[in-house]
């Protein structure tokens, strides 16, 4: 290995992430190359200084906050899943309903023996109407019912 090949391996070498064969090649090169040894030492010093950075410790009430939020998330999850469809701004759910109707109409209007490409083209030409897909997609939050049922055990 030459210097150009060794340099990109040095951090992985210091991290102990090189396969044995590559590590041996890097070590062999380092023995005879002062410039690469200096590079290795500089990188090692950088890694060491990063280790000295203080780690943020969580506040003492993190667990308490979490379990409160967990229960709330469960309660909201059910309400949001079923009722929030009607709490969304009117354009959103009206748009979602209109999109669903239009999609059904487009698909029904297509000939039964249509080529798949034609259906795709029809949908593609009305892409702006599918902007409300997100509203429909969110219906899966009804799955949170099970989550609520489990909350009593927490």
């Amino acid at each position: 290995m030459n210097c150009k090949e060794v340099k990109p391996e040095l951090v992985a070498y210091l991290d102990g992430e090189l396969p044995d064969a590559t590590r041996s090649q890097v070590e062999a090169h380092l023995e005879g190359c002062a410039a690469c040894r200096a590079e290795r030492d500089a990188l090692a010093a950088t890694l060491k200084s990063l280790e000295s950075l203080p780690a943020t410790r969580p506040s003492s009430n993190l667990a308490e906050q979490f379990w409160t939020r967990f229960r709330e998330a469960g309660q909201k999850g059910f309400k949001a899943g079923f009722l929030s469809l009607f709490k969304w701004p009117r354009p959103v759910w009206v748009g979602a309903a209109a999109t669903a109707c239009l999609l059904a109409a487009v698909l029904l209007a297509l000939p039964k023996d249509r080529p798949v490409e034609k259906a795709d083209q029809t949908i593609a030409s009305h892409m702006e109407l599918f902007a409300d897909y997100e509203a429909i997609e969110n219906l899966d939050i009804l799955e949170d019912l099970e989550y609520i049922e489990a909350l009593d055990e927490v």
Binding site: V11, D15, T46, A55, T56, R57, P58, D144, E153
Partner: protein, 186 residues
């Protein structure tokens, strides 16, 4: 074969119990990982309150996704995948702008002993360098340096090859080394 017996680690075993509705197992997973996860996530935000919010969100997501959990790899790989994605999404939403300001204000606000000042200045310099890096490079670097993840795990978390991870981490480390050196000269 019983999935639990083939689980690669104790956490995966706990998660399999969570999948089956065992709340005590979920509690244990939270207690095992929440504190360290706050330390990791905070390297994205440098704001404990924001980081704790994100970590709570991560565990809510873990619970919601419990039925989809499969112990193909370590539980921590799955956990840090959720944590990294959630953190990057929050960053894209601009939460980080507020925290940067708060970090700088905190550094200038109260008199501190020399070591502490030096540590905070280094922290701030590293944070600024990392902010300038591409998303994957930054995430790979943080996962290895502050999340304690192996290159193999980072590859799985970010959907990259191990070779790409090695390259990303090398570039990020070089950038940090140069940035620290430039900062100490000014």
């Amino acid at each position: 074969m019983d999935e639990r017996s083939s689980a690669p680690d104790a956490d995966a075993g706990l998660m399999l119990r969570v999948r089956e509705g065992d709340q005590a197992a979920f509690r244990e997973l939270f207690e095992r990982h929440a504190a360290r996860l706050v330390g990791f996530v905070d390297r994205f935000f440098y704001n404990r309150a924001v980081s704790e919010e994100v970590v709570q969100e991560v565990f809510i997501k873990v619970y919601r996704a419990r039925k989809k959990y499969r112990p193909k790899s370590k539980f921590t790989t799955w956990l840090y995948t959720i944590a990294t994605r959630t953190s990057l999404n929050e960053l894209r939403r601009g939460v980080h702008q507020q925290k940067r300001q708060e970090l700088e204000e905190a550094n200038g606000a109260t008199p501190q002993i020399d070591d502490e000042v030096a540590g905070r200045r280094l922290q701030e310099r590293v944070a600024k360098i990392l902010e300038s890096l591409p998303e994957n490079q930054r995430a790979a670097f943080l996962l290895v340096r502050f999340g304690g993840r192996s290159y193999e795990e980072v590859a799985q978390i970010l959907g990259l090859s191990e070779s790409a991870v090695k390259s990303q981490i090398f570039r990020a480390t070089e950038a940090v080394r140069k940035g620290i050196a430039d900062g100490s000269e000014t």
